[in-house]
Amino acid sequence: MARGIHVPEAIARQPWQVFLPLTALVLFASLVLYSAAGGNIQPWAVTHVIRFAVFVVMALVIALIPRELFKLVAYPAYVGVLFLLLLVELIGGIGGGSQRWLNLGFMTLQPSELMKPVIVLVLARFYDSLPPNLVSHWRGLLPAALLIALPAGFVMLQPDLGTALAICFGGFAILFLAGLPMRWFVSGAAAAGVIAPIAYFTLLHDYQRKRVTTFLDPESDPLGAGYHITQSKIAIGSGGFFGKGFGNGSQSHLEYLPESHTDFVFATMAEEWGMLGGLFVLLVFFIVLRWGIKVALKAPDMFSRLLASGMCCTIFFYVAINLMMVMGMAPVVGIPLPFVSHGGSSMMTNMICIGTLLAIDRWGNRQSGLA
């Protein structure tokens, strides 16, 4: 390599193939947020970029954490977050009504968000220490199931269906990847097919039930619960292939689109940037997730493999459910679009996932370097 274009190793070492697309996506998102605020960098566009910058630093710090420390903190972190969930539940119980966050003074913390990466971490730790021959044994399933059920149950009580599903999805992904017998999943799916209708009528709150029914037929309630989906589809559909142009989204600017800067930010984007913008967003997530799965595949051991793919699944779940929701393929469950929706908690969760993947990438490289 010629001396003239020498790049410092510290910089060259960074995984630019992830950061460049992510930065592009975040900058694009801040453009969308700028437009959604009626052409103002306040209140969303600037904070979005600043948060990203802050959490990138956090991710880089996480990337430096050694594998042993990850393993060490897995159970304490799980217990800690579980305790926070319980605390939220108690405060909510006293205050009356639904409460999902703790006010720490300088920021509001949503423990259920933290639980998404932590459930992956604790399950990876569990299967890492589980002897391989117990994987097909009930002793390989029951503790894990309990680890999932506890936080999912608490979150469900809040009630926050979307996050509860995200926790379950992350957990099941680990169970699947850890090598549990395929027949369990098949029979589990069959059982879910039976239980779901029952749960629908017993466990779900009225407003959640309404979301499901209106998702199945949004036209049935165009001004009520179906309003979100209908308006979101109008925004995306009226954008066409090239969009209406930057700053010309009438659905978002005239306030027809609800939550235009958070849950439905994709619709805001699609209205102005069209299918082209949508493909760009999908492409960035494709690049990031492909990188994440590659990291998982070349991870040095079971713990890091499971951790890496679990993080990928968590990010994927956010993306998939959010996009399905805004395009009318899933009920409105209140899950933001990673790196695009304005919101600190989800940005933090997703950057924890990215940071963890970076760390695992580093472990793999070092291992391969040693080998």
Binding site: P131, P132, N133, V135, S136, A173, F176, L177, A178, G179, Q231, K233, I234, A235, I236, G237, S238, G239, G240, F241, S250, Q251, L254, E255, Y256, A270, E271, G274, M275, G278, L279, L282, F285, F286, L289, R290, I293, A296, L297, M302, R305, L306, S309, C312, C313, F316, A320, L323, M324, M327, G328, M329
Partner: protein, 675 residues
């Protein structure tokens, strides 16, 4: 751990992990493709549909109520026009907390308690998206006060628009009618969205209703960008409205106003007809209502006040009031007698009455020997009784009808009552009784069963004055063709003209209203109609039991140009109440300045101009029925209104007296006296 049988190894699990993570990766990719396809379906294949829906979200089409066609008088001056104003409406369906909003609006717009009550009542009756008017004709300050508080007042819509304006207010109330917001039934009938557009008014009565189609015009449209909450962001494009067609009337606007004001405190009707074309110059009925306050949606209190008034302001007496014509029939009877061979020079001795069988009909004076001219001049009943007895009443009734009495005329926007010219067949039909000789006597001097409207009297006067079969018309430039020629010779007419000339200019009953404006003289006939039946309703001397006062006249006497009929309800003698009004109105046509001077002096005496009297009455009325109206009353509730303040003991203290029509003299039998 090692002792257990090992079916699984770490390597096997790693293998399994690799397979399964590839599977998951593939599933993720598949999900990505599906999402892309879904987006393509919505954004590309269904693009047209969603583009339309987005547009219909974004763009709101509002109709702009068309400016209503003006109603003009014969000189082209407006009797009804439009003025730009600011208004505030409420869309009931968008209201969140009705009571709070009404209260808030009450503060912002300075509505008094009665007006707030009205508004609350209208809101209760209202439904859906049909806007309810809160206030119109607002000044900029109050309009702005509401506009800036809109975010706290969901359902409240302030806007600029035009509202109907009647410059002379109550003077034209009965003539033109009024406009108002369309009712639910009217909307059901027409299904036109314009009808429920805030600020749009349709004709509710009179000419405004009759010519609704012509006056309405074409609405404009405004396309504007609106937010989800209905706030207008900007106007995209506007199509101007097409104003309605103007209508020009034969009415002489200043004369109509003068006549209405000149009526003053009385309850009366004045009709003036052009003797050349038959065009109606004035069709005044007072007291009246102010059509301006109807256009804004009349207040409950004002409505009650109008209804409680025993002068019946809501009745158009000019075309719907029916009165015994009394002696104003005599010129007509004079023509009928001549037609039936009575020589105008034949004399009848009046000993102060007339003996029919065993009944003695009293004349009001001992007139001595009178011929036809003198009988008209002095209004001698004896002459007409004896002559009518000779030719028979059956010879007189057809002439009365021929001259317009008991007839209905083709006049737009008037709901005429045509009264009664009785004859034997009519009496049999109505009362199952034979026609009697005394019926003939009563009918021949315009009493008994005879009842006519002021309009008919004016037509009769115009026909007698001109000798032509004039038909009254109201639309300028479209006079009605003459009816079949009248069968009177010029000589016969001249006799009657002489009699009527002498009534005023000789030693007759109307000598007190003599005029001479550059040679223009008045010819007329007084009339006093008894209101016998009504005596039972009150004490003698009570307003209600007094005689009606009538006067018919034309001028110039030598070359008739204008014919007029004046009826003053319960005005006592014709010469006392009706004739002075007729004189002043006629004077106004030839010498406006001196007529105005007379009126100004009179109005000072009556307690101010018409508007001031109306305002004072409204305040006094409000004080008796609600809390004392606040000082703001003058700027909100009270519109310049009916120049009618009946004698001070009137509606305020008297219990309701809402007889639909003032008199129904068909039942008011027997009269022995006229003036």
């Amino acid at each position: 751990m090692f002792g257990e049988p090992r079916r699984m190894t770490s390597a096997m699990l790693a293998d399994r992990f690799e397979r399964r993570s590839l599977l998951i990766g593939a599933a993720m990719a598949l999900a990505g493709v599906l999402l892309a396809l879904r987006m393509a379906w919505i954004a590309i294949f269904q693009n047209r549909k969603y583009e339309l829906e987005s547009e219909s979200n974004r763009v709101n089409l509002t109709l702009i109520p068309p400016r209503r066609g003006w109603i003009l008088d014969r000189f082209g001056a407006p009797l009804a026009s439009n003025r730009a104003d600011f208004r505030v409406d409420i869309i009931p369906d968008r209201l969140v907390d009705g009571e709070k909003v009404v209260e808030e609006l009450g503060n912002l717009l300075h509505l008094n308690a009665a007006e707030q009550g009205d508004l609350g009542e209208r809101l209760e009756k209202a439904s859906g998206f049909q806007p309810v008017e809160v206030a119109a004709g607002l000044d900029w300050e109050r309009y702005a006060a509401v506009s800036v508080r809109l975010p706290d007042l969901p359902g409240v819509v302030p806007q600029r628009g035009f509202s109907r304006f009647y410059p002379t207010g109550p003077s034209v109330g009965h003539l033109i009618g009024y406009v108002g917001a369309a009712s639910a039934e009217e909307y059901e009938q027409e299904k036109n969205p314009l009808l429920i557009t805030p600020g749009f008014k349709i004709g509710k009565d009179g000419l405004e209703k009759q010519y609704e189609k012509l006056l309405r015009g074409e609405p404009g449209a405004r396309r504007s960008e609106v937010t989800a909450s209905g706030k207008i962001v900007r106007d995209l494009e506007t199509r101007e409205d097409v104003p309605g067609h103007p209508i020009r009337l034969t009415i002489n606007g200043p004369l109509q106003d003068y006549a209405s004001r000149r009526i003053g405190l009385e309850s009366a009707a004045v009709v003036v007809i052009d003797c050349e074309s038959g065009g109606i110059l004035t069709l005044a009925s007072m007291p009246s209502f102010d059509p301006n306050s109807f256009a804004d949606g009349i207040g409950r209190l004002e409505w009650k006040m109008l209804n409680d008034d025993d002068h019946i302001p809501l009745l158009n007496k000019a075309v719907r009031g029916l009165y015994p014509p009394g002696s104003t029939m005599k010129p007509m009877a004079g023509l009928a007698l001549q037609m039936n061979g009575v020589s105008p020079d034949e004399r009848v001795n009046c000993p102060g009455g007339y003996q029919l069988g065993n009944r003695f009909f009293r004349c009001d004076a001992v007139h001595g020997s009178v011929d036809l001219r003198a009988a008209i001049e002095h209004s001698c009943n004896t002459y007409f009784w004896s002559m009518a007895h000779r030719v028979g009443y059956d010879a007189i009734a057809p002439v009365a009808k021929m001259l317009g009495l008991g007839q209905e005329f083709d006049l737009p926007g008037t709901k005429q009552r045509y009264g009664t010219i009785p004859d034997a067949a009519w009496k049999m039909r109505r009362y199952k009784q034979e026609w009697s000789a005394s019926d003939s006597l009563n009918a021949s001097i315009g009493q008994g069963y005879v009842s006519v409207s002021p309009l008919q009297l004016a037509v009769m006067t115009a026909r007698i004055a001109s000798g032509r079969n004039l038909l009254p018309s109201l639309i300028y430039g479209r006079p009605k063709p003459l009816g079949p020629a009248l069968p009177f010779t010029p000589e016969q007419l001249a006799v009657v003209h002489d009699g009527m000339f002498n009534v005023v200019n000789g030693s007759g009953t109307g000598a007190g209203v003599r005029i001479d404006i550059n040679g223009v003289k008045l010819a007329g006939k007084t009339g006093t109609a008894q209101v016998r039946r009504l005596v039972s309703r009150g004490h003698v001397g009570d307003w209600k039991s007094r005689d009606h006062s009538l006067f018919i006249c034309y001028a110039p006497a030598d070359k008739p140009k204008y014919a007029m009929a004046v009826v003053v309800e319960h005005g006592t003698f014709g010469a006392r109440a009706a004739a002075p009004i007729a004189r002043d109105v006629m004077t106004y046509l030839f010498d406006p300045a001196s007529a105005m001077a007379t009126l100004t002096a009179l109005e000072r005496e009556w307690g101010g101009t018409a508007a001031e009297r109306m305002a004072a009455k409204y305040r006094a009325y409000g004080a008796t029925y609600t809390r004392p109206p606040p000082d703001t009353a003058k700027e909100v509730g009270v519109k310049p209104a009916a120049p009618n303040a009946p004698p001070s003991e009137s509606a305020i203290t008297r219990p309701t007296a809402t007889t639909p029509v003032s008199t129904q003299p068909a039942e008011a039998h027997s009269s022995q006296e006229t003036d």
